[in-house]
Symmetry: C2
């Protein structure tokens, strides 16, 4: 997972939760392709991605506007990867498109007390 | 991670991403306490939670309204757990409150093709 910084709301989060029964090299490649594709797109802010040993995963990508999300979804290459995901990789997945209205962050500092940030 | 069903938008998602340097029994207990607390609250719809071996985690809880989110945050016991989280457990965390506007799900069926759902 990248350590995603705070972005200034409002912006969009795409919450992708999934179950991946087994990790394959092909999955890793497809996953990297989508990430690289996203990075080059207008409005892409960042991504958080976690998968546990049991194959449960959550990937949240952050975008400036709803149009940025829609345009990324429509990309032919992304659609192709989605199709491969359905046919090849996942047992199930859910996608939620959400407008981020508030955000907070906390980070440990050397004094052990930490710093609190709100936007 | 629970297999979260689809809920009818609009509703709210609280996206909690964090780095937990080491897992402790006390963390597990606190985590369970918060989950049980959430389950009994008005407007609680469900939760997805994943943490990988490196301690990166993403927990997304789902709530019917923004007020339900705010009321849960204000709960004294929850605040207490937040405080313990800052002092004891986390290296960093981010919280994002987002309004879910669209959702899609896909699930593999016995025929291997799967079923697509949109709400």
């Amino acid at each position: 997972m990248t350590s995603t910084p705070l972005f200034m709301p409002p912006y969009y989060a795409v919450i992708f939760t999934s179950l991946l029964p087994e990790h394959s090299e092909e999955y890793g490649e497809t996953s990297n392709e989508i990430y690289e594709l996203a990075q080059g797109r207008p409005g892409f802010l960042g991504v958080d991605s976690v998968r546990d040993a049991g194959g449960q995963g959550a990937t949240i990508s952050y975008w400036r506007t709803e149009d940025d999300v829609t345009n990324f979804r429509k990309l032919a290459t992304h659609r192709h990867a989605q199709h491969r995901g359905r046919v090849t990789f996942y047992e199930r997945y859910e996608v939620r498109v959400a407008k981020v209205e508030k955000e907070y962050a906390w980070k440990r500092k050397e004094d052990g007390v930490g710093e609190y940030d709100k936007k």
